[in-house]
Every structure is written in C-alpha cells, then in structure tokens.
C-alpha cells in the first residue's frame, strides 16, 4: 500500500470517527435499498446495514472492538430512546385506561411465550446452557436484554445479537402472521409486535400506523419491565 495512504488508514482506524460515519452511511444506504425495494419487509434496513458493515469489517480486517469504539455513540442512544418511550405511553393514556387488563394479560402471556418457546426449542435441539440463558431475554430491547443475560449468567454480547435477529425476524414476518390470523386491530397488532420484536418491530409498526407504533412502543417498554421482573426468578425456579 502507498505510504501516505497507509498512514491515513492508521490514523483513521485509531479514531472513532471512521466507524461512526460508516454506521450512519451504511444505514442510509440500507434505507435507500429498502425504499427501492418498495418497502418489502424482507429488505429490512437493520439486517442490510449489519450485512454491509460486516462486509466492510471483514474486508478491512477490522476487529469488532475497534468498530464498536466508534459505533458505541449510536449504541449509547438506545438508553435515552428507551426512556423516551414514556412520551407515546403518556399520549395513549386514555386508551391505556380502557385496555389495561387485556394488555396486562397479553403481556404476561407474550413474555412467558417469548422466553419459554425460545428456551424450550433450544433445549429440544441440544443448545448449551449458556446459549439458552443468552437466548431467554431475546425479545426485550437490547440494553435491557443484555442486563438480564448478565444477571442470568448468559453472554450479554451474544444476547445483543439474538435481540437484533429476533427484532428483524418479527419486523419481517409480523404483518404476514397478522394477516394469516385475520387480525386487523392496530392495538392488538402493536402489542404483539412490541412484545415479540421490541424496537425493531416498533420501527416497522410505526410504518403501518401511528397507533400500531405507539402500542408497540408501549408493549416494548412494558415487556422490558415484565421480563426483567419475571425471568430471573423463573430461571431460578426451573433450575436452568
């Protein structure tokens, strides 16, 4: 490689600027591709952006740690974004008052199903204990799921990957599942989307309608709360 070019690369790879920029640009490209594909759910922008970045990292032989030094600024915003969910929650307070009981029951069923079915299927197919514990909180938004995995004794960084995969899968399949079940109530769809696929599902739900988005955000917040309360004692009790 040319000497000046090499020095430029050494400088850039040591600064967070390069990979922070790359994260935003790859996301914009992914969004453009998603738009060109007519918003077809399979071209999920998160999955595309992750794929693009992985190609870049592998091609330049950059370790994830170096990448994350830059990308952490984006990752950090997950915390404030979780706090911001209070606003759509507050806005839907009237409907919440009417629907709190069905929402609570659906939430309880959904949270138990999300963890139970994942751990059950993993167990059935012979996954290791630490993998199962990393899998259990996969339907909860990333910072919360990572905290739960840590408490359970899983790998928080593996959980983060499984969280993104679950979110993407739910965003891709959600609308088809609701259509198959002939469910067209936006509140119901939103709750199911948020419980299953946290923020990535919520982003998809906002594309369909503001109501579905608000209730998906609500369900994401409540399920983060419920899972962190229910899962550790449940895992203890089951002796996993």
């Amino acid at each position: 490689m040319d000497e000046t070019l090499f020095q430029l690369w050494v400088y850039l790879s040591a600064s967070p600027l390069l990979w922070l920029t790359a994260t935003l640009v790859c996301y914009l490209i992914a969004q453009r591709i998603y738009g060109l594909a007519g918003g077809y759910a399979l071209f999920n922008p998160v999955a595309l952006a992750v794929g693009l970045l992985i190609v870049l990292l592998v091609a330049t032989d950059t370790p994830y740690k170096v990448y994350f030094d830059g990308a952490q600024f984006v990752h950090f915003l997950l915390g404030p974004a979780t706090v911001s969910l209070a606003i759509p929650l507050y806005r839907e307070r009237a409907r919440l008052r009417d629907l709190w009981l069905p929402i609570c029951v659906a939430l309880f069923a959904g949270v138990l199903t999300a963890s139970g079915s994942a751990v059950g299927l993993g167990l059935l197919l012979g996954a290791e204990r630490s993998t199962l514990l990393s899998l259990a909180p996969k339907s909860v938004t990333a910072p919360v799921a990572m905290g739960i995995a840590e408490k359970l004794g899983g790998y928080p960084s593996l959980t983060a990957v499984l969280v993104v995969a679950t979110g993407t899968l739910g965003a891709i399949t959600g609308v088809a599942v609701f259509r198959l079940l002939r469910i067209r109530d936006d509140v119901v769809c939103g709750i199911a989307m948020g419980v299953t696929s946290h923020g990535i599902g919520t982003a998809r739900a906002f594309q369909i309608s503001p109501v579905m988005g608000a209730f998906s955000g609500l369900a994401m917040a409540l399920s983060a709360f419920a899972t962190s309360l229910l899962l550790p004692p449940l895992v203890d009790w089951l002796g996993l």
Binding site: T23, C26, S139, A160, C189, F225
Partner: protein, 122 residues
C-alpha cells in the same frame, strides 16, 4: 433540544443509580422511562421540545440496533457450530410469540366486550 435531552438523560441516570444502589431487578433505562412518565403526569403534558427530541430518537430506533447486530462477528464461530438450535429457536419463538400475544389480547378484548378498532384498508 438540550434541555429535553438533559431531562431524558437525567431520568436515565437517576434510574441507573437507583437500580445500582437498591439492586432492583429492573434495568436502569426502564426505571428512567417510568420516572419520565411520572414527570409527564405531574406536569400534565409534553412540551414541544421534549416531543421533538423524543420523536427524533424514536423515529430512528432501528438505526440504534445496528452496532449490536454487527456483534454477530464476535460470536461467528460459536454460532456456526451451533446454528441449528439458534435459528430454529429464534424463528419458531418469534412466530409463536407474535401469534400467542395477538390472540390472547384479542381474546381478552372479546371477553370484556371491548370492540377493537379496524384499519380501513380493505
């Protein structure tokens, strides 16, 4: 913008500190969300500034998951060795959870005689 962001960060900070100090089982950002919600009820509304800042964060929610997703690189070896249980568990659990949650919610609404709202899109 700065004021609103400071309020959001302050809620998260108080949440994190409280969770650390009391070993509550809930994560800091979730407690922060409940604090912000309590604040909104006390104030009786959402200011324009807070509204704008929150919607800037929430409308780009999927971007925020990208760095965590790229972490798949770190676990590549482990995932390649045991990919089948992981893939089946993820896909199966996602579909089951979507269906169970939606059906339970719908069933409860019917049970209580609440009429759901329908989207007008044929």
């Amino acid at each position: 913008m700065i004021q609103a962001f400071a309020l959001i960060l302050a809620c998260e900070l108080v949440g994190e500190v409280t969770v650390q100090a009391t070993s509550l089982p809930i994560p800091g950002p979730v407690l922060g969300m409940l604090l912000l919600l309590a604040w909104l009820f006390l104030r009786g509304g959402v200011s324009d500034r807070l509204e704008r800042t929150a919607s800037a964060l929430l409308s780009n929610l999927s971007l925020l998951f990208v760095p965590a997703g790229v972490g798949v690189l770190v676990h590549w070896e482990a995932i390649r060795e045991g990919w089948l249980p992981l893939v089946v568990a993820l896909v199966g659990s996602t579909l089951i959870t979507l269906a169970v949650t939606a059906l339970v919610m719908l069933g409860m609404q019917r049970l209580m005689g609440l009429r759901g709202e329908r989207r007008e899109d044929g």
